[in-house]
């Protein structure tokens, strides 16, 4: 349940740590979800579908990166536009390629390894310590952190800030795309319009909640994922609480998390700033 959130929030972590605000995670996830489903449909192979999903989302991320880094456009405007694209393009292609409105034909889903969990789940959990190690223990990772905190200082010491940022945004796209693909071919085996349902934003909230650190973000993602799981389970069980309240729970918790914890949170200082003078 939390796995797509983990992928997306790790992607967001990389991007934001390198200094690029990334609210387009939702758009990346949608592109990834759709492309993965489409890819699996055309190739008949879910793994290829996964690859295509990741690549498509990565390409979308490149647009975002080009916008924010090279053109120095407003990062929030860019994110919003990408999110709108993420809704419109899959819907358009859905109609064009499959002739259906709203949902794609069912496709081959990723095989499960135990009790319905597919292979992406352990990957997600392995991802977290990998990213932690990368960021805090390797040279390029530390450079990423530097780029995010003090881009001008980093640039002056010879860190190619813009290049690192491109890489991180691209990575965020790929990861979020995998997260989206999880939803369409890992969990359900089809794509429906807007199926991410705000998960990209919840992933972003997990990032804030986790104070932009891998472990904290994982914890937050698990927390939100649990909320969503409760929501689905309770619908099956039929708790005496209003159905709407249950569905609202993840969003409500996100909201509360944002307000309650933000006092202690420290975003990367260089978020949104550029390396060379504007």
């Amino acid at each position: 349940m939390a796995s797509p959130l983990i992928f997306a929030s790790m992607g967001g972590l990389l991007s934001e740590r390198s200094g690029v605000m990334n609210i387009a995670l939702e758009g990346f996830m949608l592109m990834g979800a759709f492309s993965a489903a489409a890819g699996a449909h055309y190739t008949g192979n879910p793994y290829l579908g996964l690859l295509i999903g990741a690549l498509a989302a990565g390409f979308t991320a490149l647009i975002h990166a080009f916008w924010c880094i090279t053109l120095r456009g407003d990062q929030i405007v860019a994110g919003t536009a990408i999110n709108l694209l993420g809704i419109g393009v899959p819907a358009f292609l859905l109609q064009r390629l499959f002739g259906t409105v709203g949902r794609s034909p069912t496709v081959e889903r990723l095989p499960s390894i135990t009790s319905g969990l597919n292979i992406l789940v352990p990957v997600a959990f392995l991802l977290v310590p990998t990213i932690w190690y990368f960021l805090y223990r390797t040279k390029p990772g530390l450079r990423v952190l530097a780029a995010g905190e003090q881009p001008r200082a980093a640039e002056s010491v010879g860190v190619a800030v813009d290049r690192y940022r491109y890489g991180c945004v691209l990575a965020s796209g790929i990861l979020a795309g995998i997260g989206g693909a999880f939803l369409s071919i890992g969990d359900l085996s089809l794509f429906t319009n807007g199926m991410t349902n705000g998960r990209g934003f919840i992933a972003l909230a997990a990032l804030v909640f986790g104070n932009w650190m891998p472990l904290g973000t994982l914890g937050a993602a698990l927390f939100f994922g649990a909320a969503q799981a409760v929501q689905i389970q309770s619908q099956a069980v039929g708790l005496p609480v209003s159905k709407e309240l249950i569905i609202a729970l993840p969003y409500l918790l996100t909201l509360i998390a944002l307000t309650g914890v933000v006092r202690n949170s420290t975003p990367p200082a260089g978020l949104g700033k550029h390396a060379t003078a504007d």
Partner: protein, 401 residues
Amino acid sequence: MSLNPSPATASGGRRERSERSRWIGAAVSGLLSSVGAVAIALLVGAIVILISGDDPLVAYRALFRGAFGGVRPLSETLVAATPLIFGGLAFSLAFRAGMFNIGVEGQLVLGGLAAGWVGAQAFGLPKLLHLPLALVAAMLVGGLWGAIPGALKARTGAHEVITTIMLNYLAARISAYAVGTNGPLKGEAALPATDPALLSAQLNRLVPGERVNVGLLLGLVCAGLLWYLLFRTTFGYRVRTVGLSRGAAAYAGISWGRTITLAMMGSGLLAGLGGASEVLGLQGRYYDKFSPGYGFTSIAIGLVGRNHPVGVVLAAVLFGALNSGATAMQSAAGTSKELVQILQALVILSVAAFAAVARLQIGQRIMSRRSPGSSGSQGGDRAAAVGMEPDLEARPAPPVV
């Protein structure tokens, strides 16, 4: 301290004239920039149509005819534009204060819900009272829903993009609950909706047989009022100052927190009115999920309209035309309706691209005059990034938490 936009100096006449011509220059360049951006977006759209195997000329001609060719099409275009006017105004007001109000959708929905319910209650009031009451209800609820993220940002620094999006989802849930089966506000019919609004609460049709209604006039009035508010009142001055430079605002003694909260409240208020206009003017009652994403399109409207009331109205008409012409385009040229969404996204990207390029050019012009050392952080430059009032003095704003 006096907050006089055009200082009355001895050379007041000369200063005012050159200010006026600079203003006209900025307005014209803004207009051309937006028009150019729309043109480019349509061009790219034409390419997309070509790739998918249809004829763009046929498509666009059908689009135009479907949007403007006759009383019915024109009325439908205006009908589609009306909620976008409100939404665009709402977004612009918040944006002017430096806030990104993605929550227009939720504010619109809840405002519509409030108006729809109040409009359906048999208070026994004459139209002169019932209708305004319903509208006020919409304004209060929408305003509240907008004030929440504003206050949260002011108090805790919670990023308004995420809070507003969460509030959108919450609003959708509240709506589903309120008019769902056994919901407290549900009407008697087997629909997820309130009872139909009484005649005393409806917004009249403007042309017999057509759907365009007084809501449109209300929207235009709001545009005028917003213009006045933003550019002729002290509060508007505060809003714009806070949006352009938080540091300068603090220096001038303007309370950032209070201003953004009020701006967000005003934004939600306008969005709520938009919802009310749809419910009381067009639909006749509040339906769950009545909004096909008006709130999100409003973001585009605000950006394309350069966050100026006039621009917003024009952009709303443009997007309304795109929407109402889409069906004609589909039946004439076989293009899918989703193309309109792509066109809209292209327009946004295009408008912001033009603005970003313009900003780069201005920045380079400044750099050649000043010594290096002025950086632009995202917050204060956001206004410049979408082509409003170019930040000719790129002073770094204090860190935005």
